[in-house]
Symmetry: C2
Subunit: 637 residues, 2 copies
């Protein structure tokens, strides 16, 4: 496939839809201990509570913002130049890296020197960096030395979502301030199944979690454009969006658009799973314009280099691919090193065999050569590369189940155990690791899978695809899997890889990407609430208060997708006046359940606390005042 013409390097432009700020939202930056630690949040302004509901100020709330500079009107966005590089000073000041003369991989050099690619190529002036000989530049390595990096401080600030500022502003908002702050900040304690979620995320907590391998900050030194983020069971549950063209469909331009679109709606990470002709160039465009970590599956590209013949893959080709991609700035690599020879025959008994592309490539290689894969045999060599750029492992589940039938079978669980062993090898090298998980799993087997992962992989972050909880709904697998994702997130999974409605049927377009993202933001947030993640409920509380007080615009704006909520509302009540109406189309103007509570409250206020207590005890109180004074449920139109 050819690149979309507008992404030829001279004329590429950003997707206009990706750079509009969200309604009533402004980008704010919370400064850390130094001026160059500026952590973005989205501040959503709210209107006051109407006098009829008892006037109250509703301070702006802050939400986690993955959209990067795109939604900042102050930022100058030029796709051809890529994003600014806020991390670069942090990397440089550590003085443990060197600038290379250029790409050092054979393939990287070849692509750079191919004049036919000039038009497609992103015009990068910066040279790649690598750790100085003998140095390890991983965040885990720093953490284990007791160093709190700017990246660690950054994610600590980010995770707290400026909660204290919001609650403080509530306290100061008026005579009811203290009470309101208490109300709006309250949340259910949650059930975290042994997680250790602190009241406040500190930089030291981040460091300690990374040091013990329970969290990672994917942050290649060649991706200085990122706004650092953390993946771990004691932090907010994250989501990953997969994009990528195939030989059958889509172009470079479309993939860059999908990336900016995915992060607009909340994608914390993006994996580029391209398998087409211009993998190298597509990736460069994506990374240079991505404020979120980018993951890849290097074996896909290695396979292209041997014309699709898995048996012809070699360690040398794979190694060159790792270096090529590490020097472009890929933040994590999916490596299917757990597909061992002895597990492959176990899949012959399955309903759907091997469904992981990477897993199938390695299985074929293992069978053809009848030996363990070069990924497994060279695992420590791979670690050496990872630590020279700080690429994190995403240990691939090449044998994940592709159907309910195959869930939690011996092949899957055998591989999981091997991934646990590899985790310890990686940790020996201070290399960051997360573990990929399934797949298709019925609800009652999800917890078993999670518990085994925690135990066998020593709490290295789990990163699951769904899981899909049934096979019978092609076209709706964002939902079959969103159900499983919410649960496994609750049980301890750190990042959820989205599934779009097109799963099993085709490659997702932008509509599908958004549906997948929003579904997974829901799953991740439901998991945060159930775990009792501190502050998670603030957004629910704010939205519910807006809903109860008929602040329609606030209800839309605080939601995950203000555009959709507004569109749905306007289908039945399009007039602007309906946005301030104290009713909605479900019950109509003459009938509304929300109003009764207002009446109950007014009654409570009038009668005083004694009367209320009497009511509670079922004692007789005069009711005449209520009838006289109660404002009517049924508003006159």
């Amino acid at each position: 496939m050819n690149a979309n013409p507008k992404f030829l390097s001279a004329t590429a432009t950003v997707d206009e839809a990706a750079i509009q700020p969200l309604p009533n939202s402004t980008k704010v930056y919370i400064q850390g201990s130094r001026p160059d630690i500026r952590v973005p949040m989205r501040k959503i302004t709210q209107s006051d509570t109407a006098a009829s509901f008892g006037f109250e100020k509703n301070p702006a709330i802050y939400v986690y913002d993955t959209s990067g500079p795109y939604t900042d009107p102050e930022a100058k966005i030029d796709i051809r130049s890529g994003l600014d590089t806020p991390r670069l000073p942090w990397i440089l000041e550590r003085k443990d890296t060197e600038e290379l003369a250029g790409p050092t991989s054979e393939y990287g050099i070849e692509r750079l020197n191919d004049p036919k690619l000039a038009e497609l190529r992103f015009n990068l002036h910066r040279k790649p960096r690598r750790a100085l000989a003998g140095k390890n530049v991983s965040q885990m390595h720093y953490a284990r030395q007791g160093i709190i990096t700017p990246e660690m401080e950054y994610v600590a600030i980010r995770e707290n979502m400026n909660r204290r500022a919001y609650l403080e502003e509530l306290k100061q908002s008026g005579p009811k301030g203290e009470k309101l702050a208490e109300l709006m900040g309250r949340q259910h304690p949650g059930q975290s199944f042994g997680a250790s979620i602190p009241q406040e995320i500190t930089a030291e907590f981040v460091r300690s979690e990374i040091a013990r391998g329970r969290a990672i900050i994917p942050a290649n030194i060649n991706h200085p454009e990122i706004e650092p983020m953390i993946i771990g069971r004691n932090f907010l549950v994250k989501i990953n969006a997969n994009i990528g063209n195939s030989a059958v469909t889509s172009s470079i331009g479309e993939e860059v658009e999908k990336m900016t679109w995915a992060i607009r709606w909340g994608g914390d990470n993006v994996m580029d799973l391209s398998t087409g002709k211009h993998i190298h160039e597509t990736r460069e465009w994506i990374i240079r314009n991505s404020p979120v970590p980018i993951g890849t599956v290097p074996i896909y590209q290695a396979l292209e280099k041997v014309n699709g013949k898995a048996e012809d893959l070699t360690w040398e080709i794979f190694r060159d691919t790792l270096i090529e991609q590490a020097e472009q700035g890929v933040d994590y690599f999916t490596i299917h090193a757990g597909v061992l020879l002895r597990y492959v025959p176990m899949t012959a008994k399955r309903m759907t065999g091997i469904v992981s592309r990477g897993g199938s490539i390695m299985a074929k290689w293992c069978l053809a050569h009848h030996k363990e894969s070069f990924l497994y045999e060279h695992f420590e060599d791979i670690c050496e590369i990872m630590k020279a750029y700080d690429v994190s492992f995403s240990l691939g589940d090449g044998l994940r189940p592709g159907s309910i039938y195959d869930a939690n079978d011996e092949a899957q669980l055998g591989e999981l155990k091997t991934l646990g062993e590899l985790t310890q090898i990686a940790w020996k090298h201070d290399v960051q690791v997360m573990i990929e998980g399934p797949g298709h799993v019925p609800m009652h087997l999800i917890k078993e899978n999670m518990d085994l992962q925690l135990e066998q992989c020593h709490e290295a972050p789990f990163y699951t695809l769904g899981p899909l909880t049934t096979d019978i709904a092609p076209g709706y697998d964002h939902i079959t899997s969103g159900i499983g994702a919410a649960q496994i997130g609750w049980y301890g999974t750190a990042m959820l890889c989205y599934v779009t409605p097109k799963e099993h049927l085709g490659l997702p377009n932008k509509v599908d990407v958004k549906d997948g993202i929003i579904t997974y933001k829901i799953a991740a947030h439901a998991a945060d609430l159930a775990k009792g993640h501190i502050g998670a409920q603030i957004r629910d509380n704010a939205l519910s208060k807006a809903r109860f007080e008929f602040r329609w615009d606030d209800q839309f704006n605080i939601g995950l997708d203000p555009d959709k909520a507004r569109e749905f509302h306007d289908e039945t009540l399009p007039k602007d006046s309906a946005k301030v109406a104290h009713f909605c189309s479900m019950c109509g103007p003459h009938f509304c359940s929300m109003k009764i509570t207002q009446e109950v409250r007014e009654y409570a206020a009038q009668q005083g606390i004694t009367e209320i207590q009497a009511l509670k005890k079922g004692m007789e109180v005069k009711s005449i005042e209520f009838v006289k004074s109660g404002s009517e449920i049924y508003q006159k139109q």
Copy 2:
């Protein structure tokens, strides 16, 4: 609002979209112990496995079919005449009912005699029936006397989904038959949390479950059109679709279309929540054309009768409404009799107060009169009406939480306990009961809610609205609630009331109804799988086998929504040839993970079992044969 002109009684026509059979599907009827017990199933024909995958016959599978005669090309559908009345002989032969001269409710008589309504009115020639004096015509009453009614036998056959015929046909399908039947019928044992799901549903089991109140068959004697179905924790999880106009929007015609549309996609029950001007006439059209049980909330109509002034409601008006609706054939009534005076002030502390319409009406009435509601005070009188027509109680949760903040609070749990007490009163009268549940509940509080319901309501079927697991996604509440619905279904809920994407924003249109239905079919089925409901996994297995064997059409057709799956697939690979292609657009023709398993299997077959065992033990075996003989992953195009 006026009725849609095409639903004027003279010219009303059925929605053409509702009467097309689904792809490759035929309606079959399984006969019971007598010729007039004919239980519908949808039979989905499959193609054979291609020779390249090892030829196999794939017998048709049978799925539960809620669509009624609409999808039967043999049936003559005329909306103006309503459906046939297969239950009528069963009702008549019991000789415990009498035909009335006409409606006996004041309101029913009034509407019948109002000439202005002639054009809108469904032209019903049949007279209503009622139990003979002193008789109780509830299914529970028969069950407790040890009688197995035709309705009970019907649902028993229905629940088994003709599983044995499918497995038997597999066994007979060829030399691999026995093995295939074993494979395709196998499923995970599940975790049922104390449910008692039998290997085979017998009519006697149905009877015993109804007798002890653990299941209900909603089946008003004035709704002889229905195809009986059962709601209980030891049966397949069911779903309910709400339809209904409001003063702001929609018409009779639209509501009838929504009903036929909802059952096409799997709605087991439909509730008519209309609050507009022609509630009575709308309901008649819906019931006469509905093969599924219809539920209502009678207080909505009673309120219309007092011009929306809750305080003016009386027992007499409510009683007349119950009789009016019972004589039309409503199968279950939501009755908010658990909203007690002492619970109302508890809601003053909530984030979102009272969000149930019925709950708010009763709360207002209680406060205004300062006494317990007529629903509570006259509960036994209501039981007398219910048993004269076999209307089931759906005890409404008027104090369900409307936000995460309010989940499982004292108001909600107080009411639940009262509903348990009312259940025992209803059971004293042999009246069938289910219990409505929330609402908005974070995941970790769902099980607590379920367990309390089982305990306090003595395993009367739970019927929940979602629950929504977060408040932050208006526009996607089918998903926020589908997550909770799947879980609560797994834990023991018998029926899930759908939530559409329009929840909180507007009334659902047909697109929303379908999205809600499919989401809830997914949730219900995921719950069946997790509970280990016998036979539930057959459909997953069949779909996954089709997927693995690249039988695209079978994959679409076995799914919940063949139209959507086909449409998504065709977006990227529209040619018919792609439907038989051994690849898909996700990975493209040169790359496919499914093929490797085929190779592994072929390898296994060639090497024989000894070699495979050697492989498992990690021993050396010759690999040259594999390389020589393995068919390539990468198909030449």
